[in-house]
Amino acid sequence: MQLTIISLLLCLFLFAQEVKAQLRNLPFFPPTDNKKKGTQIELDSTTYDPSPPDAIELDLLTSYYAQDGNNGAVQGGIGTEQLTDYASKVSLKIPMTEKLGLNFDAGFDYYSSASTELIDNVFSGESSSDMRVHGNVGFSYKLTDQQTFGLRIGGSTEYDYNSLNAGFNYGWESKDRNTTIGLNGQVFSDRWGIIYPTELRREGPHVSTDKRQSYNGSLTISRIINKRMQASVQLEGIYMKGLLSTPFHRVFFQEQEQAKVEQLPGKRLKTPIGVRFNYHVTDFLIAKLYYRYYWDDWGVQGHTASVELPFKLSRFLSVYPFYRYHTQTAADYFQPYKEHTLDQEFYTSDYDLSELQSHTYGAGIRYSPVNGLARMKTPFKKRPIFMLKSIDIKYSHYDRSTGLKANIISAGLSFSF
């Protein structure tokens, strides 16, 4: 949180400096077609990167998230959904040779959840908390001028959930660099630490396995349409099997007062298709559009659309308001509190699987000056300068038709050395 506040203050300071610079009539926005001027060299400084080609890139990300609502799945769809989460992540890209690069990332989520305490039916008013830690390591290898290949492995752990993953990626780029194709695959092998609601612990096992596997494959095609437009399409398939319900979610029935543990099928196939379209409308305005259609074999169909309008206040400073709309149908197995019947095989009162519409809106600010925001000398001969390249801060408000509301503020800092 402190980092977020510091980042915000720093950004405001830099914004003031930028405005001051504008008032002194420093060059404003550039783009001119260099070809018309008889040169074929890209001179636009919006793309100029002062870092050496073999620079190590470091990214720090942090966010604070808070939500509240009254449809907590632990209480069968009627309890509190109060949750706060403080998350941070660090990513490192290290070029080893011209062709080989190593990637590392690690992070944590420290969350505090009121509903988790209700697993034991005792609510003291204070939320219980836990931490999730995660990390990944991988490499990227340039096969030819047009092709790259990479592998990665990683894992995460929290109190009742552990996960391992492995994945690959392959990228191809056309000779004129107008078309790119990306293939990604990833496998997750997860294990639950089974925790049942307190009143159901004496009864026999309520779930048949504590394992979950997820297989993910995606194909992304990106294409330049003209000098100001580009678009991409992403087709994805996600197949999950194993324990897909949550053992400490209660479900209440019409016929009895006693709750049962949530039950969901042991398989799920998700197939989202996403389209992005970016248009540099004027020198100062960009329109970023996104649409996703989603379908899965649990009966959920969804449509998501978003629009983001980055305004370039200068070459290096952008403000981007955005709006996102999402709508989905309910899963076949969802019903609210006490509306299920005992003859059903699968049942859940988790409102994340209910019919819903959500609205997300907010704004962000990004500052990435051509020579970086700050520089510091290092004791290393090969990498004498440690530079803060850019800062990005974003605030979002999330409003769901079920009554859940959430706020998130995120900050990202990029360094190179």
């Binding site: 919006t46 995460s156 996703r292």
Partner: protein, 73 residues
């Protein structure tokens, strides 16, 4: 579902193939190379995308996570 999927795939195919009519040279990419024009989610959206994945049954095709955490709170 099938009709909607076909429509979307046709739209996607149109975008990716019709665009090939124009080949943009490197020196003409001053707008396309703008960092705001990247065809991926922003790095700073990493955590936000994860929360959307948890709070909405629908997920994927947006660079967000697809596994590796129960998201059950």
């Amino acid at each position: 579902m099938k009709k909607t999927t076909k429509t979307i795939m046709a739209f996607a195919l149109t975008i990716t193939t019709l665009g090939s009519c124009v080949s943009v040279k490197e020196y003409q990419k001053m707008y396309l190379n703008d960092s705001e024009m990247e065809l991926t989610a922003r790095k700073v959206e990493y955590f936000e995308t994860n929360f959307q994945t948890y709070r909405e049954g629908a997920s994927g095709a947006n660079g967000g996570k697809v596994g590796g955490g129960c998201g059950c709170n």
